[in-house]
């Protein structure tokens, strides 16, 4: 079982998504929560980086945090999957361990 990483910072303000992308292994899963969901939007300066990351890693975003900030599934990059809190719980249960990039 691979590892689950969570990130909760906007990548436009803090570096933790970058840290997570460079320090996670291929085949691992990254879940964007809280302000980090803003990094999933289309047309941003980090969109290419995420698209590249998606070729080797699974990227998810917490839907309720996206909605809370005024966005929906239609606004995010293709290939990023949306989960609700139940899906968050399942991701934690399915992966061998979890690391929160704070």
């Amino acid at each position: 079982m691979a590892m689950l990483h969570t990130v909760n910072k906007s990548p436009f303000e803090r570096n933790s998504l970058n840290s997570c992308l460079t320090k996670s292994k291929e085949g691992s899963t990254i879940l964007l929560i809280e302000d980090a969901v803003l990094g999933a939007l289309k047309g941003t300066v980090i969109a290419d980086k995420l698209t590249t990351a998606m070729t080797t890693k699974n990227i998810y975003v917490l839907g309720s945090d996206l909605n809370t900030r005024g966005f929906t599934e239609a606004d995010i990059l293709d290939g990023i999957k949306v989960v609700d809190y139940s899906g968050f719980v399942d991701l934690v249960a399915e992966h061998a361990n979890v690391q929160s990039w704070l």
Partner: protein, 136 residues
């Protein structure tokens, strides 16, 4: 599962003093030593600044907690992984870090370095092998 020894890794990513995370994380680490688990520490990103030499807090009035890292060896915590790329990005080398050592019980108490320089890829592998990762 509860009888097995688990692998705990404390991942330090933040600089000390600006926020309390480094100090309070070290407090957890010292307590974790009492539970006879397989404990290691990682220092990456700004976390490498936690163990720099010559910290002097006289002017800021804060408590200088850097000497406590030198006690980790006494607590049998002697796996301190420092990420090479994080050091380089910040213009640092191992010479900027404190000399952190432990005495090897199985080798006639020889003093050995606790710090191990690892690449980003090696650190990713180490994290992947843990049961519990507590980062701050």
């Amino acid at each position: 599962m509860s009888d097995d020894i688990k692998k705990f890794m404390f991942v330090n990513t933040k600089a000390p003093y600006g926020t309390v995370y480094a100090l309070e994380s070290l407090e957890v680490v010292l307590i974790s030593a009492a539970f006879d688990q397989d404990v290691s520490l990682a220092f990456c990103d700004d976390g490498v600044f936690q163990i720099t030499k010559n910290q002097n807090t006289e002017g800021s009035g804060m408590k200088n907690f850097s000497p406590a890292y030198k006690a980790l060896g006494d607590y049998d915590i002697n796996k301190l992984y420092v990420e090479k790329e994080s050091l380089e990005e910040r213009g640092l080398t191992l010479d900027n870090l404190m000399d952190l050592t432990y005495e090897d019980e199985d080798d006639d108490w020889a003093e050995k370095p606790s710090i191990k320089l690892v690449t980003r890829a090696e650190l990713a592998d180490l994290m992947d092998q843990q049961d519990v990762v507590i980062s701050s």
